[in-house]
């Protein structure tokens, strides 16, 4: 009754192609954005902002990146962590080599560098497909992390091995480093993610996105109708790595405060992969839902025993976490392989009919 398209006629193709063609959707999204930008920074405390929202947003960006590569273009990748590391370390080198460079330029640059690395490691995808490619991406994952660990140039020959992200400002407000306020950091990350998510959505609904999906669905047929597999696959690797690189840099600069290789190991790659499986492959919304899910789940698990009045050793928590992850992945794959995004669409479909049953 409330959620209907009746009366909303599209009089032009442009209107038909909008991201949110239904007015109610537009209102809903506007409300969410208003809340995100306006209310949360006011109301949220440091814990929520710093330990929940910021990692959620940063990982959502990584999830968007991986979704472009795996969900839209069909190239299975287990190298997300490695690319994030690439972004973090190149951002570090850039900020230390060019102290006057604006942080936004730094981020774009580190994204571009990671995109080049992504293209390099994406070249094998032309001959290697499916699981083989997944295993090949492990090569990039392990090699890159090893590289950043072993080659001292990346850490500026730091003796302790701990490299702190230098403080940087945007419009005069500190957004990175230990001194920055959580609200500032949050708004900074939120703005970046909002802009880049919109860009991603635009790309996926353009001919570029269609080419990606065509390669994913039937790469031979795609080539036969004229889509260049080489360019399409490499563009997916490049753009995906761009996003993952920036996410990696943000993780180090805004969230953790220092660049630690451990944050980008194979577990990170799995984590982001789980996000897009649970959230929904081939869906920008899904990337957000999946990221939210994966970020909130450990907190739920950690607090559940206390809630229930039991006490549990902390390493037990991580074991239970692993078990729950495993079960959830399997559950989603059985029940709804298209993830939370599809569940969301189904809910909206039902809402169209509400309050009638059908």
């Amino acid at each position: 009754m409330l959620y209907r398209e009746a009366g909303q006629f599209k009089t032009s193709y442009q209107k038909d192609q909008q991201i949110f063609p239904i007015t109610q959707d537009r209102v809903f999204v506007a409300i969410i954005l208003a809340l995100a930008f306006g209310v949360v920074p006011m109301v949220g405390n440091d814990y929520w902002l710093g330990t929940i929202f910021i990692p959620f947003l940063v990982l959502a960006m990584a999830a968007i990146g991986l979704n472009i590569l795996t969900g839209y273009a069909g190239q299975l990748s287990l190298g997300t962590g490695g690319f994030m590391a690439c972004g973090a370390f190149s951002a570090y080198k850039l900020t230390t080599a060019f102290p006057d460079m604006n942080i936004i330029i730094v981020l774009i640059a580190c994204g571009a560098i990671t995109a080049l690395v992504g293209i390099l490691f994406g070249i094998p995808s032309l001959r290697i497909k499916g699981f083989y490619l997944a295993v090949a991406t492990l090569a990039s994952q392990f090699f890159l992390v090893w590289l950043f660990n072993k080659v001292p140039w990346f850490t500026n020959y730091s003796a302790s091995g701990v490299i702190n992200a230098p403080p940087r400002e945007v419009f005069g407000v500190l957004v990175t480093g230990a001194e920055a306020h959580p609200e500032a950091k949050y708004l900074f990350v939120l703005s970046l993610v909002a802009v880049l998510a919109l860009a991603a959505k635009n790309m996926t609904r353009s001919s570029l996105g269609r080419n990606w999906m065509a390669i994913r669905d039937m790469d031979i047929a795609a080539e036969i109708i004229g889509i260049k597999a080489l360019q399409t696959k490499l563009s997916a690797f490049a753009i995906s790595s761009f996003y993952c690189g920036i996410a990696g840099a943000l993780w180090a600069f805004v969230y953790v405060g220092s660049v630690e290789p451990l944050a980008y190991d194979i577990n990170r790659s799995f984590q982001v992969l789980f996000m897009i499986i649970i959230g929904g492959l081939g869906s920008i919304l899904g990337s957000f839902l999946g990221a939210a899910f994966i970020v909130l789940l450990p907190i739920l698990i950690k607090n559940a025993p206390a809630f229930l009045g039991l006490s549990m050793a902390s390493d037990m928590v991580s074991h239970i976490e692993a078990m729950v992850f495993g079960i959830l992945i399997i559950f989603f794959l059985i029940v709804e392989p298209h993830g939370l995004a599809r569940l969301w669409t189904i809910a909206k479909e039902k809402l169209r009919l509400w309050p009638f049953p059908y």
Partner: protein, 311 residues
């Protein structure tokens, strides 16, 4: 120029100067390689029979090892612990088939692959919840000393492991080629629908396959666990089995062996002779990069089936 010397010249000179040492390292690597092959074998079995890329093989190895080690710890004798663990692994296989694979029968391979990642995570967590996370040792009387052959020191343990692995491969080969069940497995691997239509019970077959893989995993787990102690890093070893499969081909038993040998030997030799120059710990990525380069020239691995795509 320094770099060129370090990579293309110096290591070879070193190898030439210390041939016995080189062979020692080589053989050590080959023996490790055999152990990789053991893990890879489990993959191949499952992939051959059901087309599922079982990412959980490593977790199964770890789980089997954990179970076995715990049984030993609880004072159960080896001869009872062994069949007990076997029963556990078969139960695991059955449950995997019933709860997971059975429900994903018509899905694309990628979905099945991701499901096995889920299984891997679950088994990791579950194993450590039940059996505890401290390092356990597996001591079943495999000799621990070293033999001296031609001036080289070879650990006895590795020789026993290689022997056991070889035995296992022969048993499996006979099983596949000569028995009815083996034939049925090969039929299923070729074409599920066709196998069903001649009356081969898919569910039973898959349970059998996963059980066999579980047994192979157990043997691998005991061997690796005995060598390194049972700990979480065992599942990282399993990750190492992936380059083995890439080189050998996912559907080939001999490929798993040869791939394992190549990876094991390559890693060790690479680490010892090239490692110090570039910073060490090459073993982290060496196998993967080699496999990657290999795949570029031969995407289906040494012995894998050529992927023919038609429209």
């Amino acid at each position: 120029m320094e770099i060129l010397n370090t990579i293309f010249v110096a290591p070879f000179i070193e190898i030439a100067s210390y041939p016995t040492f080189f062979f020692e390292v080589l053989i050590g690597g080959l023996l490790t390689g055999v152990m990789y092959s053991l893990v890879a074998l489990g993959f191949v079995l499952i992939f051959k029979a059901s087309g599922v890329f079982n990412f959980a093989q490593g977790a199964m190895v770890l789980f089997a090892a954990l179970a076995f080690a715990s049984f030993l710890e609880w004072g159960i004798s080896v001869w009872i612990a062994l069949p007990m663990t076997l029963v556990v692994m078969i139960a695991v296989a059955y449950l995997i088939e019933k709860l997971v694979l059975g429900r994903l029968v018509n899905q694309e391979p990628i979905i099945l692959f991701m499901a096995t990642i889920g299984i891997a995570y679950f088994l990791d967590g579950f194993g450590q919840t039940i059996f505890g996370a401290e390092i356990k040792s597996i001591n079943i009387g495999i000799p621990d000393g070293t033999w001296e052959i031609g001036g080289m020191l070879i650990p006895e343990f590795d020789i026993v492991a290689a022997f056991v692995a070889g035995l296992l491969v022969i048993v499996l080969a006979i099983f596949f080629q000569k028995t009815r069940v083996g034939r049925a497995l090969r039929a299923v691997a070729d074409d599920h629908q066709a196998a069903l239509s001649v009356g081969i019970p898919l569910t039973t077959i898959w349970t059998i396959v996963w059980s066999v893989a579980g047994i192979v995993g157990l043997v691998a787990g005991i061997m690796w666990g005995g060598k390194l102690g049972v700990q979480f890093s065992l599942s990282l070893i399993a990750l190492k089995a992936l380059p083995v499969l890439m080189i050998g081909g996912f559907t080939s038993v001999p490929g798993a062996i040869i791939g394992g040998l190549i990876v094991g030997a390559g890693e060790k030799v690479g680490e010892v002779f090239w490692g110090p120059a570039i910073g060490g710990a090459i073993e982290d990525w060496f196998a993967y990069v080699v496999a990657l380069i290999f795949l570029l020239f031969r995407p289906q691995g040494l012995f894998g089936e050529k992927i023919i795509e038609r429209v």
